[in-house]
Symmetry: C2
Subunit: 759 residues, 2 copies
């Protein structure tokens, strides 16, 4: 028991404020012998079987899964020799196998039809026969090659799902069959993805989470404490060098960092449950987190895993759902394929498990209703029952201010929502986000309902589409998508933040200055970044304003820059749709050349260029049958550049998306003040253009020094609104006084917003 107690002592460190010391003295090797026991229980199965036909969403999910598995059984069992990348046949077949085995296991338990158990057993024995002597996968791209797949990550996926299938038929198999499978397949498989690949298993990374959970899950079924310990706490002596990197450029070992499932749960999540890589990877990582937690909760309830770090796992589910637009699509923070949404099966699991283990929040039920399916286990059944019983309540998405970092001290991400997601601002001032992070401090994206108004590009990858580099990351992901200029933020001297270097970027994070989402007329978030460009301080304040004088909410962007040197500042806005008008004299070149040579600029064609207006530069466009105007305070020395993505893209991997960029040259200290204003609508059916013009008569920077920046927004009817932000004091209680526009303003807290009375 020595090793066990040593490990448990380790937990105390992670658990922080949560006092669990008494529990830790319990020997955790006291397994229940009940199987299935991971996500189903004998009593749960009995309940389900008793109510078959009475719980519509469960019955529908069951029918769908049954049809799918029956069709697969019809096709026969195929376990081809591993050969292909993600898009290819052998990859897809083995991937399909793991899903089908897991589902067949659930069907076997619920329907008690031996066909499903036979199918799983026969397939497992084909794998057992193949696994012994199976060499590394022939594709060599990964830093941690698997055997069934090109990377250990997918091997881990396989083992995790197969653990559930094995759990389901464990009692049905003979002792001899179990021994053969465990000795020749499961144990070697678990060892391969852990002790034989510590560079994969022993990190804080979504890859490792899968590895940890897979090893832990099979350990739970096999009642193998060594594997469970390894899963929870990592490999003690992994022999890895600090500073080594994976094929995505991420660090494998960081000085002083723990490993194993608990470390992976502690490190990447902030207390509110924001996952540092962003929601696209969070939804992917949530499944192993939650399914292993569910299994631990069943088999080792004494661990109180759902209370770990103040309930971070349950917070994470709520955070994930909040990190989506009005259509449920996740905001593409860092590397993220657009279109991924909370309808994905991983999020079905997350919602089901969180409901079952997290106080049965009725708002989760409305998400489950939208998802239209539930898990075929105890959690899914509880959800379907509650929906049947009319307990669902609408999921309320509100403005949220997430911190980043394990202790919430590494910047964060704010989502400001106006009305029923009429306008949603996503503002990023987080940490680097591990190897999937982008160099885009203080960047933002903007949504109107579920549509992108100003986009974050996302990643350059066509996941699982073999024609595009085997479905893997493409080189333009580094040369474009990760670069600062690919984002709606400031690029100084055509160089990305932190020189685009992961080693530097991962040492730093931006800082929240203040956020206030308590008012209905204005919501404000302000953050700062001082390390992206040493010697240059960036402070961006974004306000979502709802005014009776404006048809729709709009965004005020006050971006203050102070530098020791004179620089070129570029602030792009990546819109969609068609240009309507600007108040500038655009020059459009006869032939298009790239805007620069590196740092992403080599991918932008310059489609047009103009000297900015003295006063306000205006630019309007039309997209999705609505109108948008950008109004920015400029002087004649500024430039407006019209860009189009697609230069130096020989494989046509990039979308040909447009952008408009404000450029200010040879400047040290300056403030960019811009309003992004959605307005009106157009119908190609009625051909009516309603409210197609900007409502802003003049945007003015009326005061700007080290203490305050003040902006007025005058609409076409002459109403004037004043916004003042303190540049030095974020406290909500601090009193301020500023004389501007010939009047004295007094207020409390870091900003002032209100209407100016007519003179």
């Amino acid at each position: 028991m020595n090793i066990l107690f040593m490990r448990l002592a380790g937990v105390i460190k992670y658990l922080g404020s949560l006092v669990l010391v008494p529990l830790l003295l319990l020997p955790i090797s006291a397994h229940t012998a009940e199987r299935p026991g991971l996500v189903m229980s004998k009593s749960g199965i009995e309940q389900i079987r008793a109510q078959l036909g009475d719980v519509p969403l469960f019955d529908a999910s069951l029918a769908k899964v049954k049809a799918e598995v029956d069709a697969e059984i019809e096709l026969g069992i195929h376990t081809p020799v591993p050969k292909d990348f993600s898009g290819g046949y052998t990859h897809q077949r083995h991937k399909r196998n793991w899903f089908v085995m897991q589902k067949a296991g659930a069907l076997f338990q619920i329907l008690q039809d031996d066909r499903y158990a036979v199918y799983i057993r026969d397939m497992l024995f084909q794998y057992e026969a193949m696994y012994k002597g199976l060499p590394l996968h022939p594709q060599t791209r990964s830093y941690a090659r698997g055997k069934l797949f090109w990377q250990c990550l997918n091997d881990s996926n396989w083992l995790l799902y197969v653990s559930l299938a094995y759990d389901a038929i464990y009692d049905w198999l003979s002792e001899q069959e179990r021994q053969q499978l465990e000795q020749n397949l499961f144990r070697p498989f678990a060892d391969f993805i852990s002790i034989e690949n510590p560079q994969f298993f022993n990190r804080v990374h979504n890859h490792s989470t899968w590895g940890n959970a897979a090893v832990g899950m099979i350990g739970l079924v096999m009642n193998d404490d060594e594997l469970i310990q390894r899963a929870l706490y990592g490999i003690e002596d992994d022999g890895l060098d600090v500073g080594a990197k994976d094929n995505d450029g991420g660090f494998i070992k960081v000085e002083g960092q723990k490993a194993g499932f608990l470390a992976n749960l502690y490190e990447p999540f902030s207390p509110e449950g924001y996952y540092t890589e962003g929601p696209y990877y969070q939804r992917y990582a949530m499944y192993p987190f939650l399914v292993f937690a569910q299994a631990l909760n069943n088999v080792k309830p004494e661990l109180q895993i759902f209370k770990y770090k103040d309930g971070v796992l349950l917070n994470a589910v709520s955070a994930l759902l909040n990190l989506s637009d009005a259509d449920g699509e996740f905001f593409p923070i860092n590397d993220a394929q657009k279109g991924m949404s909370y309808h994905t099966s991983a999020t079905v699991s997350a919602v089901n498990i969180a409901y079952f283990n997290g106080g049965r929040n009725p708002q989760l039920l409305s998400i489950a209703e939208q998802q239209g399916e539930v898990l075929l286990d105890d959690a899914g059944f509880a959800v379907a029952q509650a929906i049947r019983d009319g307990k669902a309540q609408p999921f309320q998405k509100e403005s949220v201010v997430f911190s980043d970092g394990p202790d919430g001290q590494q910047g964060g991400l704010a989502i400001l929502r106006s009305g029923a997601e009429d306008l949603t601002l996503v503002f990023k001032y987080s940490a680097q986000g591990l190897s999937h992070g982008h160099y885009d401090k203080l960047s933002f994206s903007l949504y109107e309902k579920g549509e992108e108004v100003l986009q974050d590009y996302g990643l350059v990858r066509f996941v699982n589409i073999g024609q595009k580099g085997g479905g893997n990351y493409l080189k333009e992901n580094s040369s474009w998508a990760k670069q600062t200029v690919a984002h709606n933020t400031l690029t100084v001297n055509e160089t990305s933040h932190f020189e685009g270097r992961y080693e530097i970027g991962s040492q730093h994070h931006s800082e929240l200055f203040f956020a206030d989402v308590s008012r209905t007329d204005v919501q404000v978030v302000s953050a700062r970044e001082k390390n992206a460009y040493p010697g240059t301080l960036m402070a961006r304040t974004m306000a979502l304003i709802t005014s009776e004088y404006f048809e729709k909410p709009f965004l005020l962007d006050v971006f203050k820059v102070n530098s020791k040197t004179r620089n070129q500042y570029d602030v792009p806005f990546y819109y969609f749709g068609q240009v309507l008008q600007s108040n500038l004299e655009l020059e459009t070149p006869g032939s298009l050349t790239p805007l620069g040579k590196k740092n992403g600029y080599q991918h932008l064609f310059l489609e047009g260029k103009a000297s900015a207006a003295s006063g306000n530069t205006r630019f309007s466009w039309m997209d999705n049958s609505a109108f948008y105007s950008l109004t920015s305070v400029t002087d004649a020395a500024d430039e407006l550049l019209m860009t189009r993505l697609g230069a130096n893209d020989p494989e046509f991997n990039l979308r040909r998306d447009p952008g408009v960029m404000l450029r200010r040259k040879k400047t040290a200290d300056t403030t960019f003040v811009t309003v992004i204003e959605p307005h009106g609508r157009y119908s190609p059916v009625s051909e009516l253009a309603v409210n197609s013009n900007s409502n802003i008569a003049e945007l003015s920077l009326v005061h700007d020094d080290e203490r305050y920046t003040a902006v007025t927004i005058e609409d076409v009817q002459g109403h004037k609104q004043l916004f003042i932000v303190s540049n030095s004091e974020a406290s909500a209680n601090q009193a301020h006084t500023l004389k501007t526009n010939g009047k004295v303003y007094k207020w409390k807290g870091p900003y002032f917003f209100g209407e100016l009375e007519a003179d």
Copy 2:
């Protein structure tokens, strides 16, 4: 009565085969005195009033219109001094006024609430006061400037709608009020848009249709035979010169052409009801055609207007509905703004009137259900009643082969539909289409369900969006949208068909060679064009093929060209979405230059270029979560060009759409054989790519001479299909024999299609 009889004699000529001579002897001046009488009748109103609350769709439409009109009454009456183009305030206000007056008239009759009559009267008297002495509209762009609007067209719209409002309150007004309005407003207004603007009124053109109908409608209310005659038959001595053109480049007077409503009804419609300008203008023109016809049918039933030219008006409604994609959006033939659909109010009228006067076709009711509203008149009530009574049947869209030209002898347009609009081909071999015609003989577009796979660009205009050239046609409409290279057809030597000259184009039309839509496995249409390039014969055969060996239907395109000279042939395909792969070595230039200097080529940037493959050139892309592959028979001397629209577009009026172009140089006779193949699907939620590769192993041109062209399509499983088209004989009964591929094939009719047995 002499003039009247003379006019009626003219009708005989137009009526063609329809024997109406006895009716023509009736004096058509025998008005009923009943008012309202145009689209409502006293008995109809009684019926409607008796069933208020019992006919859901009518009640809903009534409630909606009432809310709209009540809100307008609240706002007060505004008749500003005319000043603006289409996008501007005065234009929009006067336009709104005509709609609101018309609707208020219907409400007055149905609800018998004097408020509505008062509102109309007061507004009419404001117009009456303004009209006297009102100069021409200050905007000078139109060939026929209006007074309230910048063009007589919109003045005519106003008068037509106002006729309905006047009809509704006619009896309610005093004799003295009527006299004042008629003398000072209606009669001068009607004269202005007719005898003072014969260049507008006396054409065969959608503009004139509006003018004719407006004059006729007000004539019917006023019981003014002179106006009615003018409306029906035009102005006898208009003093116009043959060959004069309007500001869109259309001819104003053509030698020997009649004028007036009947001529406008006779000339532009083919017997099946295809309108030579295309569906976008047809839906616009349908309203005046149908509402005037409805009024004539009520007031002058002896004219049997709905039987005119074998019922062409009713055929036209059916044709219009068939000229839409699966979402009801009209195919953008010629100048056409995309997104216009049968949900537009003009089509609501068309469907209601056609149902009421055209044998009460129950399929029209399902369209009306989709439209979700009905007219507030006798026709609308009949539709709503029938829907309430459960009479609606699904509208069946099938493959249709329309002829063009008044006698159906000027080529045509074919729509081949596979399955439930799974794949829809629109193939154009029509006449020029008047001034809105494009130079695109033998062009096509392709739809999968409601989505464009290969597009027709449409027009370059932002209708009613003032920021874009006042909402009018932009110059890129001529320099790009009308040019041949903007379409999916052949451009020879970088010159548009007919040199892009309207004078030449309007003298010619393509010719249908044959069409067969009777089979389920293959539907074929073949057409020819010999005048677009004198000395060059173009023959294009398109087959929509549904095969058990292919997941989805696909398109086979066999484009045969014979020329006396050696030429450069360009065949573009305007796809959407992202490039996946080609089997060529693409060179992508570091900077983009326009592909040419004129005829549309100046607007295309060259993004990439490759020598074609010897055998099959393959190109695949992804759009709307589906995959598409183009496979073409090429040799190494051919080129594949990747293009992007947007060069020489200083105002950003063009969409940056992509294209892929096959180029064959220094060739006289040749045949382009291409398959466009939709396949598979991708979900960004499941991240599964299903069937992402082409199913074609080899496409071969196995025989090609002046008598036959034969093509084989071999799929990846080795099944081979053979398509043979006769190049000389279109008859369905002709027997053919061809020895190809070492076998002798015998068949009847202009083409053969079938599977080849394995050797």
